[in-house]
């Protein structure tokens, strides 16, 4: 085990393999750090900033996103200091102001004691965490969706607003989204990003099947119902 580094997380000395991130090392210890844009197996992106930690360097301290911070020898990190808690709350408020209806964000707010949002609420339905983009490219080897535009008009979209040939209808982008921007709109999803419901076979002849509700497709059950 030559390639191990020793660092201190929340006052506890830990050894972690070189090349891992502070977030991974902390989670290995069972420390809870909230994240939205991190997902094991996908490239760390550092977009949501919720995984922020306080880094002590001598007399100074700085804040850094732990999901993109590699461990190094002698590092001193606090994952839940007063400063971190305060900043994290503000970050969450900012995220909530762009996606007030997200259940994931609402739950986090409840956990952290964020009870109001002081920023102007603009529901964009997307926090630009890039999870769906990375999932599409790295996990599905597809690259059907990507970021479009820049600045305040930046969004996740498909090239020329059409479902691209690369799309495998895997539904992964909807599944992985923390704010459900890609939430399935069932029947009305036509030029939508994934058209995942096309994958679900419509069971046409199914008189008494118990489990068929899992595969009735977007239009609902054909044998029962209408």
């Amino acid at each position: 085990m030559a390639d191990m580094v020793e660092l201190t997380i929340d006052g506890i000395k830990v050894r972690a393999p070189k090349g891992t991130t502070v977030l991974e090392a902390a989670r290995e210890m069972g420390i809870v750090i909230p994240t939205l844009c991190y997902y094991p197996g996908l490239t760390p992106y550092g977009a949501c900033r919720l995984c922020i930690v306080e880094l002590i360097r001598g007399k100074r301290s700085s804040l850094d996103a732990s999901c993109t911070l590699p461990v190094s020898d002698g590092m001193v990190v606090f994952t839940n200091s007063e400063r971190v808690k305060k900043v994290r709350k503000v970050i969450l408020e900012l995220l909530l102001s762009t996606c007030p209806n997200s259940k994931v964000l609402q739950d986090m707010a409840a956990n952290m004691g964020v009870t109001k949002v002081r920023f102007k609420i603009k529901d964009r339905g997307c926090i630009l965490c890039g999870l769906c983009v990375r999932y599409c490219k790295e996990q599905m080897q597809s690259g059907g969706i990507g970021f479009v535009g820049r600045g305040t008009s930046r969004k996740v979209g498909t090239p020329f607003e059409m479902t691209p040939a690369e799309c495998r209808n895997c539904n992964g982008c909807e599944w992985i989204c923390p704010v459900c921007m890609r939430a399935c709109r069932a029947g009305q999803l036509v030029e939508g990003i994934c058209g995942g419901c096309l994958n679900v076979a419509v069971v046409e002849t199914c008189p008494v099947c118990v489990k068929c509700s899992e595969s009735v497709g977007p239009e609902g059950h054909r044998a029962y119902g209408k």
Partner: protein
């Protein structure tokens, strides 16, 4: 916007462009798109789709890059591009009036291209020539210390020239046929 005009896009020229970019991975993306734009004047969708297939780079990567940078255009551009500076120095010296004049003369709003594809009109934040404020750039040529009168003369000059050229072009075409 000149979306009503459908132009036939000749994709044969692409193969020649592609030859210079073979086997270099995704890093070729921006130079490649620049080369395509140099060829067509803008970025036709068909050309990007073909490039995406040829180099096995997802179309979403192309689209992301193209929509990110202001230098790339997805709609046809006018023959002449007129850029008016609306930076601080130019603004103070009356760029707003100059821009207004150009808008009136061309009948275009900022960022638009005329129907006959003769002019594209843009405003820019700074051209780095503040000593010449207000600055107007017409087809790579800088015109300094502009005022509504001067810019009107300039635009009309080019307007006349482009009408003349197109009529000459038509005559020549007639002869060639």
């Amino acid at each position: 916007m000149a979306t009503g005009i459908v132009r036939e896009v000749d994709l044969k020229a692409l193969e020649k462009i592609f030859r210079g970019f073979e086997g270099k991975g995704e890093s070729i993306l921006i130079p490649l798109v620049q080369a395509i734009q140099a060829e067509y004047g803008f970025l036709p969708k068909e050309a990007l789709v073909k490039a995406s297939h040829h180099f096995r780079i997802p179309l979403s990567r192309f689209y992301g890059v193209v929509t990110f940078y202001a230098q790339f255009y997805l709609t046809p551009r006018g023959k002449h591009t007129i850029r008016c500076c609306r930076g601080t120095a130019c603004h103070v010296r009356g760029a707003a009036k100059v821009i207004e004049t150009v808008e009136q003369e061309l009948g275009l709003k900022e960022g638009e291209t005329s129907e006959d594809l003769s002019f594209s009109f843009e405003t820019v934040a700074c051209l780095g020539a503040c000593a010449l404020a207000p600055v107007v750039v017409l087809d790579e040529r800088y015109y300094g210390q502009m005022n509504p009168e001067k810019v009107r003369v300039l635009v009309r000059q080019y307007k006349g020239a482009s009408i003349q050229e197109s009529s000459i072009g038509e005559e020549n075409n007639g002869k060639a046929d």
